[in-house]
Amino acid sequence: MPNLTLTYPLLAALSAVLLPFAGFLLSIALGKKARHGTVAIVAISLSLLAAGYAFAQVWGHDPIHVRWHWFTIGQHAFHVGLLLDNAAVLMLLLVCLIALPVHAYSFAYMKGDPGIHRYWAYLSLFCFAMLGLVVADNLLLMYIFWELVGFASYLLIGFWYTRDAAAHANKKAFIINRVGDIGFLVGIAMVYSSVGTLDVQALFGPQGVFAAPAGADIPAANGKGTVTAGWLTVAGFAFFLGAMAKSAQFPFHVWLPDAMEGPTSVSSLIHAATMVAAGVFLLARVFPLFNEAMLLVIATTGTITAFVAAYFALTQYDIKKILAFSTISQLGFMMSGIGIGMYHIALFHLVTHAFFKCLLFLAAGAIIHEMQHMKEKHGLAIDPQDIRNMGGLRKRMPITFATMLIASLALVGFPLTAGYLSKDALLVHAFEWAALQRGPVSAIPYVLAIVSILTSFYIFRLLAKVFFARPAAILANKGVSAHEAPRQMLVPMVFLAFCSLFPLFTFNPLNDGQVWLLQGIAAELPTLPPLRLLHLLVPILATITTIIVAVVVWRWYIRGHYPLNTTGALYRLSERQGYVNELYGAAIVRPLLKLSALLWWTDRHVVDGIINGIAAAGRALAGITTWIDRHIVDGAVRLVGKLAWGAGNVLRRSQTGRVQQYLALVFFIILLILLYLIFAQA
């Protein structure tokens, strides 16, 4: 039951959300004077403290819910409010925990950029939106922050707006996210129209409307009948659409690789750790809405995404693109986690992934920074993000290397890392779940297993090319040598590296059963019948395959025994990212423009038609379709105009100026009338 008194945790959470907003406003107000970015950094650190306090207070206790009246439409009051349950505070903390290092990192990374004051403002805006999103207590509010997050990401992707690529990327990102938003909105509308409230707790809480077993009919709003399961599926799908776009699920993933046009720090925060995970968070929130069918859809989509993205990642050369695809693939993992009903594990993976993927990006950023530096220093014509130009950086940038190695191991789920815990938990439960399924879907866990192999392959490939392989010729013969990144960048990386290891989550590195996080969320969940054997088997197999892959990569890329021919169809398919973009271009963008051109043409020619009616009519005979078009749109007006004009013309004929003709006409008409009368008589 929502209470209206502000308790300390609430106050803390509230300030955690609002501080970045204050930071945003302040930096806007200061304008160029806010270059150094202290405002943003102070704001985020404060909200980290607040979030920490809130977390400590709320975690493991009953959720706290507060709301204030916002506005009323008809009889329905809409509220703004906070809902602090375990998931919320967890995310709250996570976001702050990731955001702070990124801020610190950016301090050095973005130094000297002309537009940096905008950068800080945008960053604060994003933090505000993201934090608001996680604590929002009703779907409408969630939607609002959901969109704001997208907006902030739009701004940050297009941060270097003079680059065409960036300008194009942020438009693409926003529009594709818009598709999802529409889904979200439609979902909201459906829920509202069928149940009459948008309050998360009232809907999805333990004794909420949807607490009833999925698929069962729900008493609808204003007592008129019930909501049919069919509409619930649609509503569920609508929400899932939103999540798909935001979390870059196949086929909506295309915006994420392009989004790498933004500064790397941004990519690490938004497009790796937090925002893209929002979709997963949303699904976790509305989880009770989904019935069996919907869950299957989610699981399948997640799996496909995971696989496809990993497959694309295999052959990319742009370091950030590789990481982007890896992110997509990991998001796919989480989705399938949701799909198999284990959303607590999905959230767990979300958290661990946030840390190590963020770290990966930061490390990559450090390298790119260095490459860029060299490029400018020696005027080299190289793409600082192309891994073919790197190599042998192991010795040059040892700390970067170390952190990146840890992150990669976490990514592949190597024991002792956090990734190991979450990923294996996921795999294991996938198998357990599949044991209960019939038909093709039971193949899901195997696919996921394959994906994890691919994962280890592409990430090791990355490591090998960047750190081990011999330095690229262009650098070598110039005698150029890289240096370690500045300290302000290293400190956050090290911090994140620590977070990517197991101790943060459990003291037993080998058993995910004891992870406090899982226990915290899983409380109200039904668990699947455990298969003991799997808990033993899966980790071992996974680890072994990982090592094998590592060896293969060693032979291929470092020893140079490269067996594949890069012209093979499969290779090309992966390199060109499955031609998905081209497909969109051909299937949606161009037809859309064509259609719009056609409609505009219609309009314009209708207008012309009015001016010179006769001529237009003549042209109209040319093509029957255009003729119809013209007459669909305001043909009537044109008709009147033409008729009037024509009639006027005809009438002029009678005015010949011959008085006798006039008289003749008069008598003719009289005669006609007489005749008519006579025949009327008869």
């Binding site: 006027g648 009438l651 002029r652 005015q655 008085v659 006039y662 008069v666 009338i673």
Partner: protein
């Protein structure tokens, strides 16, 4: 003859008793005579003499009829020659007003001033026409009708041909006279039949009515049609409109203004009188109303459509006046037995608008020599006052608020609608729709004037000549009146 002698005295009494009712006409007659006298002798001493006489006479006549408004209605005046009811009196008053305007208008018109005989004879002709029109408005006897129409017509022929200073004027006059005489001849022929059917010339009398009922409908219809021709010529509705554009264009503007206004008032009065003289179920009534209905619709359409293509302002206005005639006929149809307030209101407003527009057209022609619409380009800046009032009058003619034209239109619409609701006669609905449509059409050509005057730029700077300011002054007054009446119609309707 012999049996008449004994009661000749009380017949004379009856006549004498009737005369006061015709006071305005008598005044006019007197003025007519003095006017001629003044024109012959006084003018050379004081050149405004005849003008003054005429003005005073008309005003007097107007005052008389205004004063008579209060009196009770007298029918079967002079042995049923006329009926002196409020309607007729108002019509007289209106006619007087129009005549007065015409006098001032003509006085200011350069053409007439250039004329050798100035305007004195014109005035006396005008007075004759005035009398004719007055009688037309009150006549209830075919003979009286014919006399009145002829009186008005012959006068009008002369007015058109009065200053034959250029070819087109004489041409206009000739067309007018030929067309007119033929029409009146036809009418006369028709009248002879009406007389024959009924043996009575008083079309309101019982004998006349039964007579019509007695005869074969077809014959009645034919005779009516012929009579209709004469009235149609005066009102210039389709198909008797052919003369209108040519004559209006050819005649000098004041005459055109007069012709397009005064005869319509009287003619409509006459039409209304005939239209409701007979019981609604009689054949004659049916035929007449069908005739009016059909020609009203056709007239509205034709007038407005034909106006679309006109470039000469006067010609355009001629067609517009045809269109308005159709609208007036619609009003005649709508007004069911008795209350004619709406009809009168429309007539009054129409008179205002029409006179005003022609005055302005004349004024503009005098100032700049522009007679075609596209010669008006950019004149809005040169003659702002004139064109602003022009636009207001045109808006009123179109029938848009807040002008009197709108109120008049609305009233007519409501009358027609009411009639439809009572009778359920589909024709009425048709009238409504056509009326609405023609409003839209009329916008096309009325707005050519502001289009050129304000929206277009003049290709070359046009020099302006001086002209008598009284006209534009009058026009301004009328525009103001049109606006005020649009906002407070009760001032006139009360």
């Amino acid at each position: 003859m012999t049996e008449l002698l004994p009661n000749i005295s009380n017949k004379l009494d009856h006549v004498l008793a009737g005369l006061p009712m015709l006071l305005p006409e008598l005044v006019l007659t007197a003025t007519f005579l003095t006017g001629i006298g003044a024109g012959l002798f006084a003018d050379r001493y004081w050149r405004h003499a005849s003008f003054a006489v005429t003005t005073v006479g008309i005003v007097l006549a107007g005052v008389c009829s205004a004063w008579q408004l209060a009196l009770p209605a007298v029918d079967n005046l002079l042995f049923g020659m006329a009926t002196m009811d409020a309607f007729g009196r108002y019509a007289r008053l209106l006619t007087a007003a129009v005549c007065l305007l015409f006098v001032l208008f003509a006085k200011a018109n350069p053409g007439f001033n250039a004329h050798r005989k100035k305007t004195s004879d014109l005035y006396s002709i005008l007075l004759a026409v005035h009398i004719g029109l007055n009688l037309m408005g009150v006549a209830t006897n075919w003979l009286m009708v014919f006399v009145a129409i002829e009186m008005a017509s012959i006068g009008s022929y002369l007015m058109v041909g009065y200053l034959a200073k250029e070819a087109r004027q004489t041409e206009a006059a000739m067309k007018y006279v030929l067309f007119g005489s033929v029409c009146s001849a036809v009418m006369l022929y028709g009248l002879s039949f009406m007389y024959g059917f009924t043996g009575d010339l008083n079309f309101t009398s019982a004998a006349h009515i039964q007579g019509l009922e007695g005869t074969a409908p077809l014959l009645v219809a034919t005779a009516l049609l012929f009579v209709f021709t004469g009235i149609g010529f005066k009102l210039s509705f389709v198909p008797f409109h052919f003369w209108t554009p040519d004559v209006y264009q050819g005649a000098s503007t004041p005459v055109t203004a007069f012709l397009s206004t005064a005869p319509k008032i009287a003619g409509i009065a006459l039409l209304a009188r005939i239209g409701y003289a007979w019981p609604a179920d009689s054949n004659a009534f049916q035929y007449l109303h069908t005739l009016i209905l059909v020609s009203a619709i056709v007239t509205m359409l034709l007038g407005n459509l034909a106006a679309l293509r006109q470039t000469n302002v006067k010609r355009m206005m001629a067609y517009s006046s045809i269109g308005h005639t159709g609208f007036l006929m619609m009003a005649v149809l709508a007004y069911s037995s008795g209350e004619f307030a709406i009809l009168l209101f429309y007539l009054a407003v129409y008179a205002l608008m029409n006179m005003g527009v022609f005055m302005l057209a004349d004024y503009i022609e005098a100032r700049t020599g522009a007679v075609d619409v596209d010669e008006y380009r950019g004149l809005g800046k040169v003659l702002p006052a004139a064109f602003v009032s022009f636009v207001i009058l045109l808006i009123s003619l179109t029938g848009l608020p807040p002008t009197a034209g709108f109120v008049a239109k609305l009233l007519v619409f409501s009358a027609v609608f009411n009639n439809w609701q009572l009778t359920g006669n589909a024709g009425m609905l048709l009238l409504l729709i056509v009326g609405a449509l023609t409003t839209v059409i009329s916008l096309f050509y009325y707005f050519k004037v502001p289009l050129h005057a304000f929206l277009r730029q003049p290709e070359q700077e046009r020099k302006t000549l001086p002209a008598h300011p009284i006209v534009v002054g009058l026009a301004l007054l009328m525009a103001a009146a049109v606006l005020l009446l649009g906002i407070f119609p009760s001032w006139l309707m009360a």
